[in-house]
């Protein structure tokens, strides 16, 4: 069986007694490390971020204060504001270093071509969404990542950049006040920071459901790199 994909994936064929097994090396170790470091840091950033937000669950002025949302304590990590800030400013390092490592690796290795959402992926978004959400016919699989996946992964990079830049503005508004300008000022930077988190939160349930639906082979490949019998080969 020959690889149909023109992509530069390492593949092996193992001839067993009864049939030929095919496996593809999908996730190099840098990507796997980045994925799990990011999963851990994102979990901590969101839960401690919610605890920090609880100290002033509002946007805009202190007087009068209009609370936006009451976040239940069990959703948060850190115990109190000071504890949450310690976790947040520790895992922020991991979050940013992981993100930079991943992006630089994808660019240098050229692997970004598999996963970066581009204009040519636009026509494929609707058929794939129709398949996922409205039980439409499944479009033919020709690439490791379908247009909807590419859109999700690419937008998560965008949310990461947004979370990082707005985070810096909130952390150092006096040193980096010029960086608040494109965000519409200091108050809006806090809104964007919150929305970046919402972006991640909108990504995670879909991601986990798809992982569950695709089963063990798919999950296993993010642990060891190899995926048995990928459907695109």
């Amino acid at each position: 069986m020959a690889a149909k994909s023109a992509l530069d994936l390492k593949t092996v064929s193992i001839l067993s007694e009864h049939r030929t097994d095919i496996a593809a090396y999908e996730h190099p170790w840098v990507v796997r490390m980045a994925h799990w470091a990011n999963a851990a840091s994102l979990f901590v950033m969101v839960t401690t971020g919610l605890r920090i937000y609880k100290a002033f669950p509002s946007f805009g002025a202190k007087i009068p204060q209009h609370d936006f949302i009451n976040i239940p304590k069990w959703l948060t990590l850190g115990g109190w504001l000071g504890g949450a800030l310690q976790w947040h400013f520790t895992f922020a390092w991991i979050f940013v270093i992981t993100g930079l490592t991943y992006v630089i690796y994808q660019i240098v290795s050229g692997n970004y071509r598999q996963v970066l959402f581009t204009l040519r992926d636009v026509p494929g978004v609707w058929p794939m969404a129709r398949h996922y959400f409205f039980f439409g016919k499944k479009p033919e699989v020709t690439e490791p990542y379908n247009p909807l996946q590419k859109l999700a992964y690419t937008s998560s990079i965008f949310f990461g950049i947004l979370a990082t830049l707005t985070g810096f503005v909130l952390y150092k508004p006096a040193q980096l006040w010029w960086l608040a300008y494109p965000m519409g000022g200091y108050h809006l930077a806090r809104v964007w920071h919150f929305l970046a988190m919402c972006g991640f939160l909108s990504f995670i349930p879909g991601h986990l459901i798809m992982v569950a639906l695709h089963g063990w082979n798919n999950f296993y490949s993010m642990l060891v790199g190899w995926k048995k019998d990928p459907e695109y080969l």
Binding site: I52, F56, T90
Partner: protein, 202 residues
């Protein structure tokens, strides 16, 4: 987790430059006085006797002793509209007046190569700050807000006002001002001793 914050504090200190100015605002951007929050850690009025109040100056200074407010007011007065940022996430742009900490340090003959300034307050609050931030020209020994003497809720008669620091670093009701090279590890600041960042820089 303290290590992570220590790393962030170290990076904050390295990045800080005392010649980099915090943004100042037009009068029309300043919130009305009634909308500038009062925020204290336990009481809003430690009942300082304003007539007999003095500031105790000690440590690595040529002129230690007790200073009345009038002596501090002989230094050039700076008035500025700056953003006051609370660690909780809210902020307010206010109008503040006072003497530059850098002028005050010169006035008391402080050794500005020393690393820290420690302050103690009438409400038993205490703080310690890095010398670089104290020397930043927008750091004030603040005795006025909105053109009036500091009121009791905001730290009368004298507080620190520093647009480059979070609110909890800008101690109110000052009673002691000490220049030093040594900080006690269990007495860096009221909130810092419970886990807030020591640098607390903005």
């Amino acid at each position: 987790m303290e290590k992570g914050v220590a790393l962030s504090d170290w990076a904050s200190g390295e990045y800080f430059s005392k010649s980099r100015m915090a943004r100042t605002f037009k009068d029309s951007d300043v919130v009305p006085f009634e909308k500038f929050p009062y925020n204290g850690y336990d009481i809003l009025d430690p009942e300082v006797d304003l007539d007999s109040w003095t500031l105790t100056v000690e440590g690595r200074v040529r002129n230690p002793g007790e200073l009345g407010l009038a002596r501090i007011q002989t230094l050039p007065k700076i008035v500025q509209n700056t953003r006051h940022v609370c660690v909780e996430g809210w902020d307010a742009i206010g109008n503040f007046g006072g003497a530059r900490v850098s002028d005050f340090l010169k006035f008391i003959g402080a050794d500005t190569t020393a690393r820290f300034v420690e302050v103690e307050c009438a409400d038993d609050y205490y703080e310690s700050l890095d010398m670089a931030s104290m020397l930043q020209p927008q750091s004030l020994m603040c005795y006025e807000m909105y053109g009036k003497p500091l009121d009791r809720g905001h730290g009368a008669p004298l507080r620190l006002q520093m647009p480059t620091k979070l609110g909890y670093k800008q101690a109110k009701y000052l009673t002691t001002f000490r220049v030093t090279n040594v900080l006690k590890s269990d007495r860096k600041g009221y909130w810092e001793d419970q886990g807030y960042s020591w640098h607390g820089g903005l």
